[in-house]
């Protein structure tokens, strides 16, 4: 099981609390996490990554174990601590816009 922390606006949209727990099939990667989020919470489709291209939205960032992994391949394995559910995968709205 993987823990995912969503930004406030997406928690409100999905009507969930601070951390959501998701079951991942196969290796724990960004893509697998996002697939699982969108399967469990369809209203989040298109809000984190583009529906068609699957590219991360420009002002959304991903953190794992205190490291910004936004620019890593969506198919790169996440750290063991995240894959094993000991650390959350953070989805963060970038500080932007003045």
């Amino acid at each position: 099981m993987i823990q995912v922390m969503l930004p406030q606006h997406l928690r409100n949209l999905a009507k969930v609390g601070g951390v959501v727990t998701l079951e991942i099939k196969g290796p724990a990667t960004q893509r697998a996490v996002l697939d699982a989020i969108e399967a469990s919470y369809p209203m989040l489709g298109g809000t984190i990554r583009d529906r068609a291209t699957q590219k991360r939205r420009a002002f959304v960032r991903f953190f794992a174990c205190g490291v910004d992994v936004s620019l890593e391949s969506p198919d790169a394995p996440l750290p063991d601590a995240v894959a094993q559910g000991r650390e959350p995968f953070l989805i963060v709205g970038a500080i932007a816009g003045g």
């Binding site: 606006h9 489709g45 298109g46 529906r51 068609a52 939205r57 959304v60 709205g93």
Partner: protein
Amino acid sequence: MSGVRVLVGTRKGAFILSSDGRRRQWKVDGPHFGGWEIYHLKGSLADPDSLYASQCSGWFGQLIQRSKDAGRTWEPAGNDFKYDGIPGSHQWYDGTPHPWEFKRVWHLEPSLTDPETVYAGVEDAALFRSTDGGGTWAELSGLRGHGSGPRWQPGAGGMCLHTILLDPIDPGRIFIAISAAGAFRSDDAGKTWKPINRGLRSEHIPDPNAEVGHCVHRIAMHRSRPNVLFMQKHWDVMRSDDAGDSWREVSGNLPSDFGFPIEVHAHEPETIYVVPIKSDSEHYPPDGKLRVYRSRQGGNEWEALGNGLPQRDCFVNVLRDAMAVDSLDSCGVYFGTTGGQVYASADSGDSWEPIVRDLPAVLSVEVQTLS
């Protein structure tokens, strides 16, 4: 007992203002979707409890919300706006080709007869329709595909399809407007389209009389007479008496013919309202006086309506979708400002009062008249 519900979209959420038919005391409900831009929300004529809202942000993109209980609760609807086929390109600001990219929904127009059918006008300009309450969306691609699409160009606010008028008499007829392409009409329920811009003249484009390329800000009609259209263009207030086949200017004695919204009185098809703005580089009222202008002759002769509106040091704007009328016996007129005020007149514009003064910048105002 009759009543009024005013649906307000702002930069930071939606608000629902409600009153009885006297329109003296108002209940303010909101913000809904706090922190999100709500470009537009609108209720169904066929089922006034059915509301749609366009919710978006620079971070998380576009969402559509649906309420079936007059805005007490909302559920996210579908947000998959996929252009039909290969989207192709339009003109960028510098005239070079630019690929069509979906950005946001500017306007939602529920069907006049079916609460589950709703149209969405989007940026980059296209028209979508849902027949399942916003769950899924299909582009009416005959609009972008009719031939002039590659020549469309964004206005300063983006290349947005911002106006959708459904003909209450001929169900096959739809009017839309795009900044900065112009106005278009379909006579077959959205399958095919033609530009309806003859008579528009825009000095700032290479061919002032071009078939497309005009920055139409808003068009309006009276439900009883859908062949008569009124237009607030970037500059110029225009009128058509033949469903857009030809236009003539009716700016008359306005202090400025630049502006954004235009509306028609609910019971007097020749009574129209605009809000003159000083210029396209100074988006505030002339002389710091916020005044609605009313013509009772369908244009040309205008009177200033400022009773109750700030008449000094006022430098707000009124955006294109931020004016609406109710259909009570004494027609109510409403508009919202970029300063966060929503003003109401219960006497066709003769006098005004603020319903609220301190909302976030108002993007849209719609009114539901409740029986």
